[in-house]
Subunit: 302 residues, 2 copies
Amino acid sequence: MSFNHVAIIGLGLLGGSIGLAVQEHLPGVATSGFDADPEVRDKARELGLVGTVSENAADAVRGADLVILCVPVGAMGSAAAAVAPGLGENVVISDVGSSKLTVSRGLAAALPRHTIIPAHPVAGTEQSGPEAGFATLFHHRWCIITPSEDAPADKVEALSAFWEALGSTVEIMDAEHHDLVLAVTSHIPHLIAYTIVGTASDLEEVTRGEVIKYSAGGFRDFTRIAASDPTMWRDVFLNNREAVLEMMDRFLSDLALMREAIRAGDGETMFDLFSKTRAIRRRIVEQGQDDARPDFGRHDHE
Amino acid sequence: MSFNHVAIIGLGLLGGSIGLAVQEHLPGVATSGFDADPEVRDKARELGLVGTVSENAADAVRGADLVILCVPVGAMGSAAAAVAPGLGENVVISDVGSSKLTVSRGLAAALPRHTIIPAHPVAGTEQSGPEAGFATLFHHRWCIITPSEDAPADKVEALSAFWEALGSTVEIMDAEHHDLVLAVTSHIPHLIAYTIVGTASDLEEVTRGEVIKYSAGGFRDFTRIAASDPTMWRDVFLNNREAVLEMMDRFLSDLALMREAIRAGDGETMFDLFSKTRAIRRRIVEQGQDDARPDFGRHDHE
């Protein structure tokens, strides 16, 4: 089986990009969509993010065989309730949330009689809203699908094929493991970035103007991540609490070791850590997950 | 006054970039250089990083009116001792180190009869070595000069004009304040990045392969910073201990507040922090200190 009509609920960066990507890569597939914000709906129509933008969620999913919820993870339950009246019998409900265990449970509770196959495309930028989307967002990125044990195999395969058509490589994973992996590769990095940017902007000894001026020493990279959508990220931390706390405690304990090395003037411990982290960067670049050019190629444009 | 002959000691990313930048922006100024590593000297000759590459440090500085030490801050004292026999009477000794208080003291102790004007161009990439340099590295970047109170005004002005000719904007600052500012805008971000990359690569529950695969969720940005030169960064932390520990404790205390917000499910505290950090990013982009394109423009190349 494959999908003929994809409905997208939430037309921000992710939803908009899916709409554009389907139109580019799967031109035979119909697209419809809805966003709770009327201004976003207008903008989505203007930009052609999906074929049809409906005025309510239930209308948007009518006739769809795949519904993708692209709202912050805290809004998944209410989005599911809103689409319920329009859902057909054989539709697959999926999502793009950054945390999977609580989302899976919430969707299963909201739509107990439907097939739910949660997914998480590991892609995005620091921008948000309907104008931030683009068709190539999922190229060379991973999409993690976390089906429950009783999910129909043909539908899981169809969802995998859908994401592959959009340029992603699919990995099937247990929701709980997903949440632990993403806590370390995404959630903790965001929390750290938000926190250090907050720390820097509240100092008395160093002005905000100085922080901005001299940000090229490393700080500016953190500000990019800390410019991400606040609602989305609040919801991620509220919904992936256990894994985030576990990974944060590992990080804090490693940071305490580095603090002690600095205090004690222990250059060897520092050098050992600073040497081994280069290898990880090299592999990320080799595997196509980042740009090999220095400074992400930023200097090419000066 | 202005400089006619610039000698560069250490021909890695910074030293090599200065050599190339002088040749491009100040074609009338002679350049010479030395590196303790014979392979780097060969490479520097091949790439033409400076006009003449000498076989020892004292020869490299003979006849120079500006000597710039571009070695890790822990090697500044020995670099100063090595150039001493070749130094002329009126030469200005400067450097590019990321910490200024201990470096200033070390250089003053090593060369008590010479004019020392420390400087720090806030520019760089994660790459190192003679092949990493490029002439535009200092364009639109700040260069902080930290003269002592008795530094001759005409020489401070000449050094400022030199850096401006290379494309930078110069700021004069007290060495102690510099070290505090850079602790927050550069040193702590590097320490955090090195630490979280180390934490992620040592987990038992999440494999290193998974960390690499799913790094596009935020982690990959930290790996860029954590790929920086280990010797340089070890020396920064050994030489800016007080300021780094002070700023780290601010960060740790803010992180403890966020940890508690997550534990308690306090979405409002998170949302407040995640909203205010966007403003800093906006100002960094407005002031030309970072690329406005999402993901630093990385997606342009896919």
